[in-house]
Amino acid sequence: MKMMGEFVKGLWRENPTFRIVLGLCPTLAVSTSVSNGIGMGVAATFVLVGSNIFVSLIRGIVPEKVRIPCFIVIIATFVTIVDLLMKAYAPALSRSLGMFVPLIVVNCMVLGRAEAFASKAPPFKSILDALGMGIGFTWALILISAIRESLGNGTILGITISRSFEPPLFMILAPGALLTIGILIALINYLTMKWKAK
């Protein structure tokens, strides 16, 4: 049961986007369409799981003073693997995510999990933590991009949902991202507080 907790906490209680508020830069940038959101979420989850496993495995061996460079090398390796695999097997997705796949290297969420969790926990627990965080990040991205794509472009996953209104473009541009994320964080904080009070 305690193991399960490591997985579940990333989904809501310690959701990387809405609760810990890490890795917002890629979240703001790629949440313009649901397909981008899913792609980014899956890529980040892969990197999280891979880096968490290895950081956890080497946690006893690596001297404290050089741990950060070691973590970064591990994370960068996994990011490059994802980038190459995406270019090979999903070229269209790779193109639309562009620079943001290589930039997962500097996503605070990934290094944050390595430093705060995997460097102090056994591999299996670290995998659960990474999966929870990754899925938490993915659903947050899907929610944000669904709101932005449907309001700003009138489509979801590229399929037109309504032609009855002229989509307000700013929802797809940067201000829409900030507004959507702000309102969602407020809403989720409110809900969490309400449930806690009960």
Partner: protein, 180 residues
């Protein structure tokens, strides 16, 4: 062993392992990535020059092009054009006949703002090709500009101009180089 050497060694071992893994992944994916790019290019070439049956690559003055051949006859050229748009570089492939008239074109890659600049490559419901690009076909690439034969997309003037100007400039340069 002093501490510094130990740190360096540890980091070195991890870097070595990472390099091995990356070298392996790179070698495995390289042919697949190259094949995907090649396939995409060939598809684009066939789409913009349907009357040609083979394409011979070449380069002149830094411009990469393909000679579009129908049997032994030269029917035109396909030029690789790089434009500088609002969000970054855009890669376009444009087919012209020997006189510089545009036969077809495709945007292979662009980073324009979704919902605004991305309309340069948007296909309207029920149509088969992007409406912005359709207006280029049949026009002489060396005379087009936004406002002269090409209508810009509302809210995406920079992107529209980037495509038009890049094509005009590259084709003009190319035709001059070929005449020499």
């Amino acid at each position: 062993m002093n501490q510094m050497t130990k740190f360096g060694l540890m980091l070195g071992i991890i870097c070595l392992a990472a390099t091995l893994v990356l070298a392996f992944t790179y070698e495995v994916t390289r042919p697949i990535i190259a094949a995907a790019l090649y396939r995409e290019e060939q598809e684009a070439l066939k789409a913009i020059m349907p009357e040609a049956d083979s394409f011979k690559p070449g380069a002149v003055g830094g411009i990469e092009y393909f000679e579009a051949m129908n049997g032994p006859a030269l029917v035109g050229y396909c030029l690789k054009v790089t434009g500088s748009g609002y969000g970054g570089y855009m890669h376009i492939i444009v087919g012209i006949d020997t006189g510089g008239v545009i036969k077809g074109l495709r945007i292979l890659q662009h980073m324009e703002t979704p919902g605004l600049g991305s309309k340069i490559n948007e296909i309207r419901l029920g149509e088969s090709e992007p409406y912005f690009l359709k207006q280029f076909i049949g026009k002489n690439a060396r005379t087009i500009s936004v406002g002269n034969g090409i209508d810009a997309i509302t809210g995406a003037t920079i992107s529209s101009k980037a495509v038009t100007d890049a094509i005009n400039k590259t084709v003009t340069e190319f035709m001059e180089k070929m005449r020499q």
